[in-house]
Subunit: 338 residues, 2 copies
């Protein structure tokens, strides 16, 4: 069946288009009888307002695009929940695309979103993204772009992030204050800023407390996986018996470390303490429970949407946009593992 338009309904009922539109939206200045007539007719002909016609009228799609590195990732699921919740309040809907941490796929997804005429793009960049031309293309088109969590220092736009360096510093400082002196770091991949910053926070804490930094105590988890955490912990036990604490870039490698230590009957935290990062649900479910750094995922998503919405309103009014960088507070969650 052909989709009817407001115009068709107006013609059929001998009303103005404005009256039909207002009646369907329950505006108080349309009388009740008319509203009921319009609604009954709209129901009869299965009318749903046409988003595309609305777009051609308003130049707004009421859609935003979100590109996340990985979908089945507890933290990003939470960010997405926050985005969806805030979007819903402004009657926006969210197209979700994944980059699978791939630079090529990220470029493609952004291009698809631009073709779909989304009103804005929220992006957490992939670990392998090494240039920002595709990102700058969004900014050039005057479409609001907001980074969340993983951002590029090279692009000029707003972002919602945490201070990874400070958060990591606090986590390692806690281990030091528990009396730990030889702290290993299971770091993330080399490119992404957050993995660099967590590593720098680790190093800074060692320096500040006069502990030696030894690069053979730093292990790179390219997949940020449980298996890498397990394997490196085995290596630590065999080759570096002096190590008395492990600070991991994320909870998954930390959980792998706990599993390995449990199997080797090494007492946590007395012999080796373990600290994760991100505070996934799992950190509370392993034995012993895992100390971690809480990242406010839902709040990050809400703020990212709010920044987009604010910029869009400014652009609509023809006012200039001042880019903001919102840094959300993290919180150290101390549990049994430290």
């Amino acid at each position: 069946m052909k989709n009817l338009t407001l115009k068709d309904i107006a013609a059929a009922l001998n009303l103005s288009i404005t009256t039909v539109s207002k009646a369907l939206k329950d505006y108080p200045d349309v009388n009740t009888n008319t509203k009921e007539r319009v609604k009954a007719y709209a129901k009869k002909v299965n009318f749903t307002p046409n988003a595309h016609a609305a777009f051609l009228r308003t130049q707004q799609s009421k859609l935003i695009g979100v590109v996340i590195p990985r979908l089945n990732h507890f933290f990003f699921s939470n960010v997405l929940r926050g985005i969806m919740k805030a979007a819903e309040e402004e009657d926006y809907m969210v197209i979700v695309l994944s980059s699978d941490e791939s630079y090529e796929l990220e470029k493609k997804q952004i291009n698809r979103l631009l073709q779909q005429n989304v009103d804005g793009i929220l992006l957490s960049i992939a670990d392998s993204t090494h240039d920002t031309k595709h990102i700058d293309a969004i900014i050039e088109q005057k479409i609001p772009l907001i980074f969340f969590d993983k951002y590029s220092k090279l692009s000029n736009c707003s972002s919602v992030v945490i201070n990874d360096q400070k958060a990591a510093f606090n986590a390692v400082e806690h281990l030091i204050k528990q009396g730990k002196k030889n702290i290993a770091h299971l770091r993330g991949p080399l490119l992404p800023q957050n993995s660099i910053d967590r590593f720098l926070g680790y190093r800074k804490a060692l320096e500040q407390y006069g502990l030696e930094y030894r690069k053979e105590w730093v292990f790179t988890c390219d997949q940020i996986s449980n298996e890498e955490g397990y394997a490196y912990t085995q290596e630590i036990i065999e080759k570096h018996p002096e190590i008395d604490a492990i600070f991991a870039v994320a909870d998954m490698p930390a959980v792998g470390a706990i599993k390995c230590l449990n199997e080797q009957k090494i007492v946590i935290p007395d012999q080796i303490a373990v600290m994760g990062f991100s505070n996934w649900r799992i950190s509370n479910l392993v034995t012993p429970t895992l100390s971690s750094v809480n990242q406010p995922g839902i709040k990050m998503g809400e703020k990212a949407f709010e920044l987009f919405y604010k910029e869009q309103q400014l652009i609509k009014k023809g006012e200039s946009v001042v880019y903001e960088k919102i840094e959300l507070d993290t919180k150290l969650i101390i549990r049994q593992s430290s």
Copy 2:
């Protein structure tokens, strides 16, 4: 800046609209020089093909809507990944909405998707959904609707599900074959079909093996949470010392059970065995590792999209659609807890 159309570009370059369209899509029957001219110009004016103009031409939005009960749920994240992967192959994008297990919100989200002129809707119904008028409205509008995982027996459309009853039967049968005789069930909420079916599978296994069914051994987890699993297990230890196995409707309550048993120094599985359902990542990370039933989430998502796409093609050709119910195989994953 006003969005240029294919027509504007064609006029500017003195070419036909078809040639411009083909050049941008790299069709082989346009000569290389022309392609380069068109692409250079399109780049200069920042042209992106307009999805809305395309919709008005083709009556296809190339968007589908997915309504899931909960976003930060490992299983549904996997289903979503499967949907997104399959959608991408057909150049579809996915609007994701959550019902938060609420009937009212589910109704609202479906209405929003219909207004957005999505080409199809993929739905896993909320636990609290008790009538299907809003669902039937989709079917009446001849928009393909596909249920996945949680479905309504009352609506006439295609679905991709697992056989929950059979899967639960197999899980409980395994516990019985391990010598367990007094098996408790942490069941899910009362309404959703999958929680009913898992309960029925549990009961059927007991019957078939001549074990007594006792309703005081069945505990309802309304939130399907870790905390409920923990609390009911404490109750089991205190009031039902004869119980030697626990079959949970999902992994979260099972993980709560393991936590409680560990703390009470009850040996798993010798004293009490534990079986989960869904095979979340966590089942492999707890100590002891948790036996569970693997649900093929990614495959479920892929199949759901494929069903939608097939129906859409049939509708476009004016052919009649025969609804399908695809039942995917589950797999029992035996680990240390049983």
